[in-house]
Symmetry: C2
Subunit: 304 residues, 2 copies
Amino acid sequence: MASWNESASKQAITDFVSRVTQTGGSNYVEPAERIAVFDNDGTLWTEHPMYVQLAFALDRVKTMAPMHREWTNKQPFQAVLDGDMAALAASGERGMMELVMVTHAGMTSAEFAAIVSQWLATARHPRFKRPYIELVYQPMIELLGYLRANEFKTFIVSGGGVEFMRPWTNRVYGVPPEQVIGSSIKTRFEMRDGRPELYRLAQVNFIDDKAGKPVGINEYIGRRPIAAFGNSDGDLEMLQWTTMSGGARLGLIVHHTDAEREYAYDRNTAFGRLDKALNAATANNWAVMDMKRDWKVIFPFELG
Amino acid sequence: MASWNESASKQAITDFVSRVTQTGGSNYVEPAERIAVFDNDGTLWTEHPMYVQLAFALDRVKTMAPMHREWTNKQPFQAVLDGDMAALAASGERGMMELVMVTHAGMTSAEFAAIVSQWLATARHPRFKRPYIELVYQPMIELLGYLRANEFKTFIVSGGGVEFMRPWTNRVYGVPPEQVIGSSIKTRFEMRDGRPELYRLAQVNFIDDKAGKPVGINEYIGRRPIAAFGNSDGDLEMLQWTTMSGGARLGLIVHHTDAEREYAYDRNTAFGRLDKALNAATANNWAVMDMKRDWKVIFPFELG
């Protein structure tokens, strides 16, 4: 973990790993039970000025607009095409869901994966002018590797769409598709022209956020993690589920405190609000990582 | 695969494995992509005279009956308590669902896992008079090991309940909980008395059968398998999804042909009907394994 300064949060991590890996120790945990779960947005990569997947959806609306003339005077599409963020916000959760369904459904799973990969190869973050997958946190990548070197199995448990993440998480984080859990829409299997296909439907299947995270962990992993890493109130229940089960457990919150190198936000933000989980950290003995103080570098490209 | 006779089905397996593991060969597949999926009931363990999970549900009804006096004259419970299989069958899918919900919901996930483990430790198969987990197929356990020795990752993809399988699949098959996919009911996360709990609700979440199998494979694994093993029409779509994607692929059907050592059934049976998938085998070049002819032993206890 070369990009971590010596700090309480680094100490909490290494102490925990020492305890659960010490053969014969009272806190020893078998390798098979060393499950670590990571939120993605704001924990492993940048979620400001908006979730990357939202930026993807807005771009897709623009790309698809020529085939949808009716969008020029229909919300929330008009707001997207006009770049009117206030009108977009006013469309609320219902408007967001409409955007997601129009841009994420209506194709096969393989086609969607290709669309995502192509977008990630060309889209640029508005402030850093770099591909989004370069805006992952170098210290967290090192942490993932450190845990795996200590025979942990690392999972992503994200509110983001599972098929939005799987095309690139292995390459970027070393987390293979079968260890990525996220929100999803329903799919339908069909033989068409003698070929088996999975079609993405405009219907919610699972929301992997807040109380959905422990539900998803149980459903998709079937083991209770011993370490959880998050950065927002969406991770509160995952942190509770992981740490409040006796034995040596680790909960860690990534606190965005660095407006200069990345962003600074917690209780007042539209993306990655950290309020209840921050209050709960002290009582539950969760480590709170201070991005400005604890990380030598934020992004891999800083290593040159 | 010591318990396999030299046969076309064994040959199909070893040929396939040779091709996909030969470095530099035109059919070479990276270890990470070597995903093999196995049905459970009838493919890895006995599903006659009825699915083991149904036997579990019937036993649970009997165990719970003293607390439910109303069941003595209410279907489908009365049928279970009277051992009246005709009346039980007459209650149809709706009756079965009612039995499943009453016996599988209304407790935490941890409590359910304990109930399953306890039942498996005491219940006996009516014909073989042995614990159900001794009625797994020795040749298939060897096959699982053979594939893992060749860097395959083995998954179970079963119509059975995922939380009914996970307590024992690792011990019996070497398949860990996170590699078991199955049908499920919904759960709800709640903090109760300061403890986080997952409650099992009387509500269907996912049916991992027929066209649900490729859907489940995509949702839970996120990779397309290169080998699939099944024994009934419930596995047809999984076999299609796995094998009809170009490249070297293996589909294999376990055909129950041995009434003496196990059971013989295919097109006419209430549990594990094999009809459409058997018809599809020839056209798709799936291996059809003949239990009587191809297996030296069926169960591990025959090895003595």
